[in-house]
């Protein structure tokens, strides 16, 4: 069984981004980029299934600029077998990403697609659910546990109020939540080996997908800033201030 893992190149989670003064977007020049943390969890889960003998091949795919190759290499260094880079400098919205992924699924025929629940840049939390919809597959979104059974996968999901377990017929889409696993670090030899692993380079046009955006970004602005208040010297003073503020 093959597993497909879509991985996205995003601004590293430690970076405090800056909004451009002219409202045209976020300044991404010279900013550290990394694999979306949820996607590292997805790669890890796929590798664990392979190591447990439940999967035969792990394919990482990314849609993005030439530099997104680095993100694929991260996945390959963790242990994925090969990569697909769908190269584009355009903005690709989740719906278009899902359409491209659906075409790749048709070609590669994986039994499982494991991906992040959300990318930490646009925070859309859509792509996995959209892919499942386009394929007519079941979806296990926000997974904290994944268990393969006969012809199906049981996914425990983080939901409001607790946990829910669903059983999905294979093939299926799973999206990862933070508690699914702790991703491994790639070792130096594996990073070097990853450079030689196969990466197929494609374009959205190869898949016949129209990626023109459906959302027009009119402007990007800074949120209203909260200013730091005061330090209080004691709990008694704190309670006094809270009463004054009318919240107690």
């Amino acid at each position: 069984m093959k597993i497909l893992v879509p991985v996205k190149r995003v601004v590293d989670y430690n970076v405090k981004i800056r909004v451009k003064a002219d409202g045209s977007g976020v300044d991404l020049a010279n900013v550290k980029m990394s694999m979306n943390p949820f996607d590292e969890i997805a790669v890890e889960e796929a590798l664990r299934l392979k190591e447990a003998g439940k999967a035969t091949e792990v394919i990482v795919v990314t849609i993005g600029p030439a530099k997104a190759d680095e993100t694929l290499r991260t996945g390959l260094a963790m242990g994925a077998d090969r990569g697909i880079l769908v190269k584009t400098d355009e903005t690709v919205e989740p719906l278009a990403v899902a359409k491209i992924l659906a075409k790749i699924v048709a070609e590669e025929q994986p039994q499982l697609v494991i991906m992040g629940k959300q990318a930490i840049d646009d925070d859309c939390n859509q792509t996995g659910q959209m892919l499942a919809a386009l394929l007519g597959w079941g979806q296990g979104a926000f997974a904290s546990k994944v268990e393969m059974t006969e012809g199906a996968v049981d996914v425990t999901r983080e939901i409001d109020g607790g946990l829910q377990t669903v059983s999905l017929k294979l093939p299926a889409v799973v999206t990862t939540d933070l508690r699914l696993n702790e991703p491994r670090y790639a070792s130096l030899p594996n990073i070097i080996k990853a450079k030689k692993k196969e990466v197929a380079v494609k374009s959205p046009a190869d898949y016949g997908v129209d990626i023109s955006p459906r959302l027009e970004v009119l402007k990007t602005t800074e949120p209203a800033k909260r200013k730091a208040g005061v330090k209080v010297g004691s709990v008694v003073e704190l309670v006094g201030k809270l009463k004054e503020a009318g919240v107690l």
């Binding site: 659910q129 959209m130 007519g136 669903v166 508690r179 459906r214 602005t221 800074e222 909260r226």
Partner: protein, 314 residues
């Protein structure tokens, strides 16, 4: 524009998030129909019917819709979509699961987590953990939208609207519910609580998390929240996580105890009206957003706070 609002329910009642999303729907404008999905939700339907501005309530009680399975609920909404220009829902774990599936089936790009309605097709939404606000215009003829409920006030009650029973299309048969572990709590629900007391890694254990936070939370009738570090370490259940990848909250009072204030945490709580930080490190970033900061060891400050609350009769 006719609007279909997918309701969030809690037991046989409407969750407060629904009335907030209704306010966003009203700002978009047009007749609003509320959709209630799942068996045994007549009470919820009656409550929804009483919300001011609702023209009609649709109730689908098929067993296949139980537990809000994305596959069946999306199929139902798609079967109704022809009659609607806008499909909207409060952003909750259930709707985040369902709505993108609906959007893709309708070939529409969803607008996630709106915080402002600028016009019927233009919305503001946070990106990069709330460090930037994007204004987007949705060009699709049909719109699929989720609403960040902390940004909208709840719609009031009004005259009762009619309730209509509908049925779901055939179950696509690709998924089945197996089990569920729901935390039972007497406390107010996190996203609608007026006061939240959140604990971080500093609590050190699940036992401390409970022992130290509970008495204060009880006095304040507060919901309890947590940082990711506290959830990952198993001190608190996953659904208490506040932040970019957990819940967004905006209570009147948010007390962060032993939380450093990482941007991912701030993303979920910085719209709170009053923020209190209790941290023993005076350099902790949480103090940059706190209205009132107390540099102290939480293990002494919280018991003191409880005693002080007793004194003032809380």
């Amino acid at each position: 524009m006719t609007i279909l609002l997918l309701a969030e329910t809690a037991g046989d009642a409407i969750a407060p998030a629904t009335a907030k999303a209704l306010t966003a729907a009203k700002e978009i404008g047009g007749p609003i129909h509320v959709l209630i999905v799942g068996p045994g939700l007549k009470g919820a339907a009656e409550q929804a019917a009483k919300l001011a501005g609702v023209e009609k309530v649709l109730v689908a009680e098929d067993a296949s819709l139980d537990h809000v399975l994305a596959e069946t609920v999306a199929a139902l909404i798609v079967s109704l979509a022809g009659a609607y220009d806008v499909i909207i829902a409060p952003s909750t774990s259930a709707t985040k699961n369902v709505l993108p599936r609906v959007a893709a089936l309708l070939d529409v790009m969803q607008v996630s987590d709106i915080i402002k309605v600028v016009s019927a097709d233009t919305f503001e939404r946070p990106i990069y953990a709330g460090n930037a606000i994007q204004t987007v215009r949705a060009k699709d003829a049909k719109k699929v939208i989720t609403v960040r409920t902390t940004a909208f006030a709840a719609a009031p009650e009004g005259e009762a609207a009619p309730i209509e029973a509908i049925s779901a299309p055939a179950d696509p048969g690709v998924s089945a519910f197996k089990s569920e572990e729901l935390a039972k709590s007497e406390r107010p629900e996190l996203t609608s609580a007026r006061i939240i007391l959140s604990g971080g890694r500093a609590l050190g254990s699940a036992e401390n998390f409970q022992k130290v936070l509970d008495p204060v939370a009880t006095r304040l009738n507060a919901a309890i929240g947590a940082s990711r570090a506290a959830v990952d370490a198993g001190y608190a259940p996953n659904d208490l996580q506040v932040g970019q990848t957990g819940k967004a909250v905006a209570p009147d009072l948010y007390i962060a105890a032993g939380i450093s204030g990482a941007i991912q945490h701030l993303a979920g709580m910085k719209d709170s009206k009053v923020i209190v930080a209790i941290n023993k490190d005076e350099e902790a970033p949480i103090f940059q957003v706190a209205d009132f900061g107390l540099v102290a060891d939480l293990f002494t400050a919280l018991p003191e706070l409880e005693a002080e609350l007793v004194k003032i009769g809380r």
